[in-house]
């Protein structure tokens, strides 16, 4: 063979390519690689800001089990607790604990772990952000395989929190032995995967738990890379560097899933886009609020800006939530919007003016969406000025009840209960509430302690109807989560939005 300079260069380039990157082939996936969209700051799922960050719950749920299992449709199922309930007069709760479960270090999981986890979560000094819920239970004790606690303050949602934020069972003996820092270094749980390696801001490598009580996961090794840039995630999955990724732009999603070797899975998740109305200035005028709601064509926004990936909503409940009522509908009616504004003396020539705040790039097409909404408003006689802010500023202003008359936000509620959507978002005394009128506070207040579940849910539906009729908030649509994956992987989406590797199998 004659070796020319050209052929030498070609051979060198080819060998470099083969040496550096070994593209993962869909049909022979031994190690599942996921390009994840957020970093994992901390391993303890019960303390600190990470504990209430919905975007990393999927990582926690891969390693730790919650008290109660949540199925992909958001409904509860027996998990580490096999059964649970209140006593007759609702002064006690009881929980039966699953037997035969092992911690990742091989030790036995016991009822004492559940008791300790609940008691620890209830103590203020441990720094559990949901302490105000766990603190409603006291005097935790173990009787055989049952954990019992006294109810200090009745909360009808207490068992729902057991599959929501911070509702995780941690290993008592191990945690007490290694301490908080030791646990952070080498976390163990009872979950489907065990932490093999963790490099902050880089990746976590998981090994399947061979003793998992709910069936051993199909992929023995899973590497989750933290790829926070959407462009890089697209490139990762397109190049074969990763098998699965999520939260890519919708237009990229359509392009990628049409490619050979790649597929897509999309499903609505428990995250909604909405516009808060603040009870100040022109928003105190019923006609202005109602006109602002009727003027928006939600389906058009979904079709034009989100490539059709979204579900229009009329209350803060999505179809998966317990208090969803399809009969509550606020129709798109620009003529009605014009009439309402005319009643208050506004028109396209003499528009009502206010500021709307929005993030830009925090959620898909958030700024563009608000631009479209402002355009729709302009056509009926509303002149809104857009103010862009960071999401950190939104939280600050909301906590201080200092938002502009209108403010765009996305609200997550992976437990699906109305208290954690309409409740916290619309109840005046809550720091997250923006509309604080007394009439609404009076309607919501009795529902917090309603012990009849059916009456409770019906009560929330009535509240949602009342809110819709009075246009106290503007729900826009439910987000759809796009997941791109190699054709060799079957992904089961979870309505909470958590990307769970143990729900992935070989196609």
């Amino acid at each position: 063979m004659k070796l020319s300079r050209r052929s030498l260069l070609q051979m060198s380039a080819a060998s470099v390519a083969l040496t550096f990157v070994k593209p993962v082939l869909a049909q022979s996936i031994d190690e599942l690689v996921i390009a994840y969209n957020v970093n994992l700051p901390s391993w303890d799922p019960t303390v600190g800001p990470s504990a209430v960050n919905p975007t990393i719950q999927g990582l926690y749920q891969s390693v730790f089990d919650q008290f109660i299992l949540q199925k992909p449709d958001l409904s509860p199922a027996p998990g580490l607790l096999t059964d649970w309930g209140w006593n007759e007069d609702r002064t006690q709760v009881w929980m039966d604990v699953r037997e035969g479960v092992k911690w990742h270090d091989g030790s036995d999981f016991t009822a004492e772990d559940v008791r300790w986890s609940l008691e620890r979560a209830a103590r203020e000094e441990t720094g559990n952000p949901i302490q105000f819920v766990w603190g409603t239970l006291t005097n935790h004790r173990v009787e055989g395989n049952r954990v019992i606690a006294d109810v200090a303050q009745f909360d009808p949602t207490i068992f729902k929190w057991m599959y929501f934020l911070t509702g995780y069972v941690l290993p008592k003996d191990y945690y007490e032995r290694v301490g908080a820092d030791g646990f952070e270094e080498a976390p163990i749980g009872t979950g489907p995967y065990m932490v093999e390696q963790y490099e902050r801001n880089a990746f976590v490598q998981l090994k399947a738990n061979p003793d998992y009580w709910n069936g051993v996961p199909e992929f023995e090794t899973v590497t989750i890379r933290f790829v926070t840039d959407a462009t890089s995630r697209v490139a990762e999955v397109e190049s074969g560097g990763s098998h699965v990724t999520l939260e890519v732009p919708y237009e990229e999603y359509d392009r990628l899933r049409a490619r050979d070797g790649l597929s897509g899975t999309h499903a609505p998740v428990s995250d909604i886009a909405m516009i808060f109305f603040n009870d100040i200035d022109v928003m105190l005028d019923d006609n202005v609020r109602k006109a602002a709601v009727h003027a928006i064509d939600k389906q058009l926004i979904i079709d034009r800006l989100l490539e059709g990936y979204g579900v229009p909503i009329h209350t803060m409940q999505t179809p998966e939530y317990l208090a969803y009522d399809p009969s509550i509908e606020v129709e798109y009616d620009p003529d009605l919007a014009r009439e309402l504004l005319a009643e208050s003396g506004y028109s396209t020539d003499e528009p009502v003016r206010f500021t709307i705040q929005t993030t830009r790039g925090f959620k898909p097409k958030d700024y563009e969406m608000i631009q479209a909404i402002v355009g729709m408003w302009r056509r009926v006689g509303i002149e809104a000025e857009i103010e862009v802010y960071e999401v950190a500023r939104h939280f600050e202003l909301r906590a201080a009840d200092d938002l502009a008359p209108a403010a765009f936000y996305n609200w997550g509620n992976s437990v699906g209960d109305p208290t954690t959507s309409t409740g916290f978002a619309m109840f005046g005394p809550s720091p997250h509430s923006v509309w604080d009128s007394e009439d609404l506070v009076e309607k919501i207040a009795p529902l917090w302690a309603e012990s009849d579940e059916e009456a409770r849910i019906e009560g929330w539906k009535e509240v949602d109807r009342y809110i819709a009729e009075n246009a106290y908030v503007l729900p826009l649509f439910q987000y759809v989560q796009p997941i791109v994956h190699a054709s060799g992987v079957k992904v089961t989406p979870h309505a909470s939005g958590a990307l769970l590797p143990h729900l992935m199998t070989r196609a």
């Binding site: 470099v16 390519a17 040496t19 550096f20 990157v21 593209p23 390009a35 970093n39 700051p41 901390s42 303890d44 303390v47 600190g48 800001p49 990470s50 209430v52 720094g127 952000p129 949901i130 302490q131 105000f132 819920v133 908080a180 952070e184 390696q197 490099e199 902050r200 801001n201 880089a202 490598q205 590497t223 933290f226 790829v227 926070t228 840039d229 462009t231 890089s232 490139a235 990762e236 397109e238 190049s239 560097g241 802010y389 960071e390 999401v391 950190a392 500023r393 939280f395 600050e396 202003l397 909301r398 906590a399 201080a400 954690t420 409740g423 916290f424 005394p429 809550s430 720091p431 997250h432």
Partner: protein
């Protein structure tokens, strides 16, 4: 004399760092975005908010907070990260080597490319090749580094997948290291398998950072070389019969390189600053990537720690460049 100058520089460095710390401390507390508001769970009460403020010491005045922080820093305690609940110093020191290695690699690439372009342009001055080099330099300069990053991802990550798109090293290999200076350690231990894996991860972000700097180096060095080529001592060496390559490299370059060296020092600090965006784009686990998370989450102690470290890096690099310049420049050496 030199010792006095170094001591003076160290003193000004200390004052600079103190000034930076005051500015950063105050700025991140007065700009919009409250870290406590960001961590409020649904249903939190005013008491919960007050409790969290007390826990993180945010219930005190800014001046009080600053002096508490400063007294901690003097004792080597930069505080605890709000997000990760880890000591800030540990976090930044663990990430610093990754950023330093990336920056140094980018600098080396920039010097090689820039030097090659300058020498070639000087050697072939007045020809079409010099024109092509000028155009290339112009293109490289007019595109910011993060856009070069995107182009490189598309070219060498997707279309021709030669290099890794994200991360610093393949996950299976991290346990092989005993320090955080992976690249240097792999060389010292002659573990070229590790080195190759590191380079395949680092090359694209380093090249993205290097391209604009290479153009600057190329332009300045070429200009400087061309001016030097007209000096008498260069003409003399030509008349002695030395070839053009010898004249450029052995005679003109040592003098022409001095202004470029100063520029490289200044640009290196900008290059370290540029790692913030590039590390994010390539999910490279350095300080820059961590800085973005810290800012998004309003992790005040971590932001302070990272900024102070960056400021320290900048001043140290400038100090080193000044010293190197003094060593290389005979006029300063004998002044």
């Amino acid at each position: 004399m030199i010792l006095r100058r170094v001591l003076l520089r160290l003193l000004t460095t200390l004052v600079t760092l103190l000034g930076v710390s005051v500015i950063v401390f105050v700025t991140i507390r007065v700009v919009p975005g409250d870290p406590i508001a960001m961590m409020l769970p649904p249903g939190a009460t005013d008491d919960d908010i007050d409790r969290l403020r007390r826990i993180y010491g945010l219930d005190r005045s800014i001046a009080e907070q600053y002096f508490i922080w400063l007294s901690g820093v003097v004792q080597g305690d930069f505080g605890t990260s709000i997000q990760t609940r880890q000591p800030v110093l540990n976090l930044v020191l663990r990430r610093l080597p990754a950023t330093l290695e990336l920056s140094i690699m980018a600098l080396v690439i920039a010097m090689v490319i820039g030097g090659f372009l300058a020498l070639t342009g000087t050697r072939l001055r007045g020809t079409r090749t010099e024109g092509a080099i000028d155009v290339t330099n112009g293109m490289a300069l007019s595109v910011p580094d993060f856009l070069w990053g995107l182009v490189l991802i598309l070219l060498f990550g997707v279309l021709w997948p030669v290099f890794h798109i994200s991360g610093r090293i393949s996950p299976n290999l991290t346990s092989e290291f005993s320090t955080s200076f992976y690249l240097f350690e792999s060389v010292f231990r002659l573990r070229f398998d590790l080195w190759l894996d590191l380079v395949s991860h680092m090359f694209m972000p380093a090249l993205a950072l290097a391209i604009p700097l290479a153009a600057i180096i190329g332009q300045l060095l070429k200009q400087s070389l061309k001016e030097t080529m007209h000096l008498d001592y260069v003409t003399l060496s030509r008349t002695k019969g030395y070839g053009e390559n010898h004249v450029i490299i052995r005679e003109a370059l040592p003098n022409a390189v001095l202004p470029t060296l100063t520029l490289i020092g200044v640009q290196f600090t900008f290059l370290i600053g540029g790692t913030v965006i590039i590390e994010r784009l390539f999910s490279y686990e350095g300080l820059g990537n961590m800085a973005i998370d810290a800012v998004i989450n309003r992790d005040l102690p971590l932001i302070q720690g990272i900024v102070i470290l960056f400021a320290l890096l900048f001043t140290v690099v400038n100090l080193l460049v000044d010293m190197l310049y003094a060593v290389l420049n005979p006029r300063l050496r004998h002044a």
